[in-house]
């Protein structure tokens, strides 16, 4: 009898647990589910209020995808994003790797403080900077050009990259570099031949995060760029497929879904590193 009630209690708890999980997962993924359904629905099915919006009342169609790739600049926006992303990642690595190493190994006591100072620039959000930055970009003759984005985006990738890499370099034993130096390398040689190769996974993390930050960026692109063919995907899609005369929901949702999925998949593998960087190393994972 007693065992029975205990079992019932277990089952009730389990159902409550799974139920609440389902509710959260549904809430989180609902817009993406809705994108997926809309992408493949015929217009006649989509714009009929009598239909159940969650099922296919007519046969699925690929017409919205064709439209997205043939009649809009979507592909161009994807390419722009990739191009800016690659350049920004390269600049970020070039600036952040030596800086992080210097702060951890060569700078002594003030290294840590300068590191925190650099991290805090991450808080000086684009929000405060976008207005003066628009003037800076204009004065350099870069307005309405992808180069403005290449120049400005490292302002938010570099501080974060330095912070992540500092955490990474701290875990490398000093003996390794000292051994390399005894073998005849200079300090800088030891950094190039020893430290960088064993830090590949940390550097890869920085590459992923810098790239996703570029894909997500919105406000600077909206401020600096005005020509449709020079937008990145996260600004081009909402600006030119929403605020036009016609709301083309099918193509719009297809665009959102296609641009989101790769980022979601890649990011998922790196999320723990991201968090330990964000929590200032207060948690050791």
């Amino acid at each position: 009898m007693k065992k029975n009630t205990k079992d019932t209690k277990q089952i009730v708890l389990k159902i409550a647990h799974l139920g609440s999980l389902a509710v959260f997962a549904f809430f989180a993924s609902l817009p993406f589910l809705w994108m997926l359904i809309t992408t493949f629905k015929q217009d006649a099915d989509l714009y009929n209020r009598a239909n159940n919006p969650f099922i296919f009342n007519m046969a699925p169609t690929l017409v919205h995808l064709k439209e997205l790739f043939h009649e809009t600049l979507f592909l161009k926006w994807l390419l722009n994003t990739a191009w800016v992303g690659v350049l920004v990642v390269l600049i970020t690595l070039f600036l952040a790797i030596p800086a992080a190493y210097s702060l951890v190994r060569l700078a002594g006591r003030w290294g840590e403080r300068l590191g925190i100072g650099i991290f805090l620039t991450y808080l000086v959000a684009p929000t405060i900077l976008f207005i003066p930055m628009s003037r800076v970009v204009a004065n350099l003759g870069l307005q309405d050009s992808l180069w403005s984005l290449v120049l400005v985006f490292p302002t938010f990738t570099v501080p974060f990259a330095i912070w992540l890499l500092m955490g990474f370099f701290k875990t490398i034993p000093r003996d390794l570099e000292e051994a390399a130096m005894i073998d005849g390398y200079s300090r800088f040689g030891a950094f190039i031949r020893m430290v960088i190769p064993i830090s590949t996974s940390g550097i890869l993390t920085v590459v992923i995060f810098s790239f996703t930050l570029v894909v997500q960026e919105y406000i600077y692109t909206l401020t600096f760029v005005t020509t449709a063919s020079r937008y990145t995907v996260s600004v081009g899609v909402p600006t030119f497929l929403v605020h036009g005369d016609v709301y083309n929901w099918g193509a719009l949702m297809a665009g959102c879904l296609i641009a989101s999925l790769p980022v979601v998949i890649v990011y998922n593998f790196f999320v723990e590193r991201f968090i330990s960087g964000l929590t200032l190393g207060a948690v050791k994972g």
Binding site: R49, P98, V124, T127, C256, T279, L280, G285
Partner: protein, 314 residues
Amino acid sequence: MDTDVKTVESTFRSRNQHLSFFFDNATVLGVLMIAPAVIYILALVGYPLVLAFIYSFSDITIGSSHFSFVGLENIQMLIRDFDFKTALYNTVYFTAVSMIIVLVLAKILALILLKDFKGKFIIRTLILMPYVAPISLGVIGWLWMLDSIYSPINWLLQHTGLFGPDFWPMWLGKPKLAMSAIITVHVWRMLPLATVIMLAGLTSIPQDIQDAALVDGAGYFRRLFQITIPMMLPIMLVAVLFGIVFTATDIIIILVLTRGGPYGSTQVLVSKAFYTGIDAGDLATGAATALFLFPLLAAVAIFMLRIARRAEIA
């Protein structure tokens, strides 16, 4: 033996004499390696930040080279402006309400996710999606879900009998509903990040402490309030600080969903700064509007420094 080593060392040294000044001296090399990053940050974060202050006290506009200082005129004008006061109030309200909801839900979700269950990876991916996908694109999904005519949410609520047959709210068309919609979407976006941070905090509590408390007869809530929450406090603080910054400075949701409307009911400081500074070309007033967030960011920065210093000592 001893001389041998010396000869080898001295030949090595003479070969690299002047290069070694750069490549071996820790101080020189340290400065050289950090200089590019520091110069870049000073030029593209420091300089614009100074400009933001200068612009706030000037009458600069887009497309004109005219520039003169007007002192506190912009700020005084803003303080008298009714729209500005609304935006300031909206910013505080939006930030506070969404932060509270996010914290409560994140705590619950983290506790749920802590348990082991099948398919955890998939569930985690689904739950993370709102934060990971480009926000502007996720928000368009919401724009379509909250559509005034074809909203599937309304359809669902009507067909499950929660809404009457004639009740079809225009989520983005009524001031109160629009604000709730903005908050909901923001919670949707921030919840994954807050949850993962909380989860990191939860898993960092040593199991022995929980076990010891259990042996001593502490119940679930006693453990929650006397062990779990106090031990997670530093992490929760970090989550809150980041949350405040991300919430108060983020305008993508507002720009895409409501553009500040209806009747300015969802206008916040940053969106107002964007519309005055960039769309209307009044750089000075725009900069002054955005600058009202600076005290908030500075306060958060000081808090962060304290936490970092404490982590350093421990």
